[in-house]
Subunit: 272 residues, 2 copies
């Protein structure tokens, strides 16, 4: 099954576009887990247990684990093993290097660790992205329009009549015929989700920027979803993970995830 | 001492602009080290021992270590500990994420691991780079003009009268007053090294693309160096590391490093 088809199948079966971002920060753990040796892994385990029936995907943010050195790497591998195989996995690593080096990352992250997909930066062009596109059941979410303020620095600059992010979206779609390229499109840039959707009608989007960053769920669904209300993976991290730092953290995280999923599905029904 | 001053001091004392890239690939190790448990670390140790008096810097390419999972992370930490403190260290990790996440990478790589500098991708703009610029003795090599073929896909596109890489160089210099920003400028784009130098007269360049990738040493020195023949860090990886896969690999690596260093210094004398 191709990467695009896999995402669609999982979203349909789960009736969910929600992705929980495991951006687990040792300093923000529930108080009773902070001093525990396996605190982070235990936290991730509980979060996965209480959200697994509500999500289509989990996204693991490499920075938070690399901050812990080799221990962090082990926690990441163990966390990945806890994710049910029916849920899609995203390595939020924002890699991208010369071909020789990207091949190393592709092998490590998509094959040895076994992630379904990875986020990649576009600046170095085609040969920096292609090693991640070689296996048709694995794929890339290429940064197009990011959710942060700095998106304005280069992504909105004009190359001829197109903005840089539009140039990226147009060009990158020619890099694979494997149906395994998607784009990162920030929820904070709501109207421009529509601009990207026009240029890439059938491609899945990974949409960060809901929750702590303040993007609108309604706009993401309305402007981003494809026919039938699919095709966007909506990520929330901090607003779910750290909804409570008390012993009830897992129940509270589940409530937040459920609330967000219901909100997403409300707008899917409204617009599709 | 600021980051810029530190590079200058080290280059002057070592009389060298050479950086050896520790892109150590388990599959390309000398035959007798391939099956050894600590083969990669032993290889790095020997390479450092025989080149440490010839270089101003070592660059560690994270991909090659991450390909080995948590073991790789440990090897990277141990390799770093073998590098003399008088030599400059570069984490070739090409990171860059929203501020919250970049802060995690900055802490992990510049503080906990203790690298002097890191390569960062510019696509996400100012707030994705700033966390790496907060300490004035640590700094960033921001991707400007990369050495690969894919550089043509976006970096050479025009934003008004400037090319994208020129826009990056001009804009990014406004992001810090700490004298701790440098640029990655590929040796394979010789004439355009000069274009970047014009826009950034006092800023250090990290120049990959010599050796296996075929860039010209003469052009790098001629177009890239600042007054007195400083200001570029010229990296070679594969051409030195894998010059021999026999037991004499270390001697051969030293010969290659020496030859390259002499060539660089020949052109420094010629042009400065």
């Amino acid at each position: 099954m191709s990467f695009h088809a896999k995402i669609h199948t999982i979203q349909k079966r789960a009736d969910s576009l929600l992705c929980v971002g495991l951006d687990t920060d040792a300093q923000k753990l529930p108080v009773h887990l902070r001093s525990k040796k396996n605190g982070i892994l235990e936290f991730n385990k509980r979060i996965i247990e209480v959200t697994r029936d509500l999500v289509c995907a989990y996204k693991i943010n490499f920075a938070f684990y690399e901050a812990l050195g080799k221990e962090g790497w082990a926690i990441m591998e163990k966390t990945l093993a806890l994710i049910p195989s029916a849920v899609f996995t995203i390595a939020d690593a924002k890699r991208g290097d010369i071909g020789n080096t990207s091949s190393q990352y592709a092998r490590a992250i998509l094959n040895e660790m076994g992630f379904d997909s990875i986020t990649v930066a576009p600046y170095m062009g085609k040969d920096s992205v292609q090693p991640f596109l070689e296996q048709k059941e694995k794929g890339v979410f290429l940064l197009a329009l990011t959710s942060n303020q700095g998106a304005l620095d280069f992504q909105y600059k004009k190359i001829g009549k197109k903005r840089v992010f539009e140039e990226v979206v147009t060009t990158a779609q020619q890099w694979t015929t494997n149906h395994n390229l998607g784009f990162v499109v920030g929820a904070t840039k709501s109207k421009d989700i529509q601009s990207v959707r026009k240029l890439a009608p059938d491609v899945p989007f990974l949409v960060p920027g809901i929750g702590a960053q303040g993007g609108s769920v309604e706009d993401v669904v309305k402007y981003g979803c494809t026919d039938g209300g699919f095709g966007v993976i909506i990520n929330a991290s901090r607003s779910i993970l750290y909804a409570s730092i008390e012993k009830d953290f897992a129940d509270t995280a589940r409530s937040e995830a459920l609330k967000l999923n219901n909100e997403i599905n409300f707008f899917r029904t409204k617009y599709f």
